[in-house]
């Protein structure tokens, strides 16, 4: 590359194209933060990526392109097919998977650069990596392998957890899986990886040792990624997905430091920042610190206590049939739907919309109250309801909908639990105490569609279910909603 740097193309044109690309990325991300400009922002960012790739190909000049083209073709095909075919309900796991592939790419690039410059074509044979590549590139390579590896395997575990089709030792993977001594193991893995990384970067000139060291750090990072995500439960997934998103950016930045490429550093930093902001938003929405999410093992204390715990101790709960619930809805003038993960599981978003249309045709006003951490990723409910063509003007954020519950006749809670639990406000010792929740109990009547009285992720009782003005309709969300639709249609006819 040193020869190319002296030429106009490699030394001036390509870096300027990279700068243009970085600027376009900034405009793209800025666009992505507003509903109106988001699609344009995404296109802009895609254009910036294309520009960056073309500039790189120009920089590479005339070389053997077969491998590069094959890689681009295979990756492009797989990515396109998956992206166009995936169901909207499978979006969280898809994002996790794409995220992981980005992290994996960072690991491979870092190892590849080390291998090329230290083993295959050493410019200074017999020198350590810190001398041959410069200490900054050597350190960045270690960090790139570490962060990228954690992103890769962590995202794969997140993917499996979100799919929730795998069981380990009879336990669903979406549950927190707490291995004994995991904090110690993680500490050993981090320190060990850094020690091995420091050693092969600074202390040895042996080719075999450098190669083996890079592989050992990569393996440690992969195990660490698995260990870090296994203890996280399904409801904490929005935090973890955002954090892994941030990591994938930082891994790209680390790769940029290895290659002395500012475009990678800038783009990676932008992604790192956006991931951290989302992580922060998700943590605030759960009233928990990031450390608590990552290491807390939330809800586990309850499990260790006598089986079932408080969740069984329900007093009188009013259980209605769909027919009876439909009669309550019939007379309502204002209805707020509160969706939760159960809506996604039952794929009930279209039926909800159908029910809302029916109610609206009877002159009822329908809104949706969305809790920021409802579902399994940031904005999960919004994507689902958008797929069912629910106008986004009807989707209300927590702060905006909370004052409205007092004037609401009926709140329909579909597959949500902890985000509507009054315990967050009136039980100081509760695990969710202080978490901002949707104050649905202030409405005239609440109808909760749920399979059973089983506790939500927090593992605690929901006193909403015992309220005098609450009605439980037990069953699968989609089925119950379909019955409600049928009943309302019948009533109209």
């Amino acid at each position: 590359m040193s020869a190319a740097e002296t030429t106009f193309v490699g030394g001036v044109l390509v870096p300027l194209l990279y700068l243009l690309s970085a600027v376009l990325f900034i405009f793209g991300i800025k666009g992505l933060t507003k509903v109106r400009t988001a699609r344009r922002g995404n296109l802009l960012a895609a254009g910036a990526m294309l520009l960056a790739i073309l500039a790189t190909l120009v920089d590479l000049g005339t070389i053997d392109y077969r491998w590069i083209l094959a890689g681009l073709a295979v990756g492009g095909l797989v990515g396109a097919v998956v992206a166009l075919r995936v169901e909207m309900t499978a979006m969280p796991e898809m994002v996790a998977l794409f995220n992981g592939s980005g992290g994996g790419a960072s690991v491979l690039v870092a190892i590849s650069v080390l291998w090329l410059q230290m083993i295959e074509e050493p410019e200074a044979p017999g020198a350590t990596a810190a001398v041959a590549l410069g200490p900054d590139s050597a350190v960045s390579a270690v960090l790139g392998i570490l962060i990228g590896g954690v992103t890769f395997s962590g995202s794969l575990v997140a993917f499996l957890k979100l799919r929730d089709k795998t069981k380990i030792a009879g336990k669903r993977l979406s549950q927190p899986i707490l291995l004994p001594g995991r904090h110690l193991v993680n500490l050993v893995l981090v320190l060990g990886a850094l020690a091995v990384g420091g050693w092969f970067a600074f202390a040895t000139a042996s080719e075999a040792a450098i190669g083996a060291g890079a592989v050992v750090v990569a393996l440690a990072a992969l195990v660490l990624g698995v260990m870090l995500v296994l203890p996280i439960g399904g409801a904490d997934m929005p935090v973890v997905i955002s954090l892994l998103n941030s990591y994938s950016g930082l891994a790209a930045s680390a790769t940029g430091f290895v290659l002395n490429n500012n475009l990678l550093i800038i783009s990676g930093a932008l992604v790192g920042a956006s991931g951290l902001i989302l992580t922060q938003i998700m943590c605030v929405a759960m009233n928990r610190t990031l450390a608590n999410v990552l290491f807390g093992g939330f809800g586990i204390q309850d499990e260790a206590a006598p089986a079932g715990g408080a969740a069984d101790e329900y007093g009188t709960v009013r259980s209605y049939s769909a027919e009876e619930a439909a009669m309550v809805l019939e007379s309502a003038e204002k209805v707020v739907v509160v969706p939760g993960y159960g809506l996604a599981v039952a794929q009930a978003q279209h039926v909800v919309r159908e029910l809302a249309d029916l109610l609206e045709s009877r002159g009822c006003r329908v809104l949706y109250g969305i809790h920021p951490v409802a579902g399994r990723m940031p904005g999960h409910m919004n994507v689902l309801l958008a797929e069912a063509d629910v106008p986004y003007e009807q989707l209300q954020e927590m702060e905006r909908i909370n004052p409205e519950f007092k004037e609401t006749d009926v709140v329909l809670v579909v597959g949500a639990n902890d985000v509507v639990n009054p315990a967050a406000e009136n039980v100081p010792g509760s695990p969710i105490a202080g978490m901002p929740v949707l104050k649905v109990w202030e409405a005239g009547t609440t109808i909760v569609i749920k399979r059973s009285l089983s506790p939500g992720f927090a593992g605690i009782k929901n006193s909403l279910f015992e309220n005098e003005n609450n009605i439980m309709v037990f069953g699968d969300a989609k089925q119950v909603l379909q019955e409600l639709v049928a009943e309302l249609k019948q009533a109209a006819a």
Partner: protein
């Protein structure tokens, strides 16, 4: 004078600040697309992968680089397409509201 490492660190820190500044007040509606779009941008590693795979002969670095191209391209192409699909759904609402 600043060495190349220091310049890179400057660039990194300033870019983080740019990120924090432009991503203020994200409406929850857009959380998923923002995340998935940003995720696609993290596929910028593809530039590194292209440099890594450049040798024509089959070597360890070349094979690793090519594998990196595959992974990064999945990230980039899949990420941008899926984001566009999602945002397409948000957009169509402004046209057809209530029947």
């Amino acid at each position: 004078m600043m060495g190349p490492l220091l310049i890179s660190v400057y660039v990194f820190v300033l870019a983080m600040f740019v990120g924090f500044e432009i991503i203020t007040k994200v409406p929850p509606t857009i959380h998923t697309p923002l995340m998935s779009g940003a995720n696609a941008i993290s596929g910028i590693t593809i530039v590194g992968a292209l440099y890594a795979a450049q040798t024509g002969t089959v070597t360890v670095s070349n094979v690793l680089g090519t594998a990196a191209i595959v992974l990064a391209t999945i990230n980039v192409v899949g990420g941008f397409l899926v984001t566009d699909r999602m945002l397409g759904m948000f957009g169509r609402k402004t046209k057809k509201t209530k029947p």
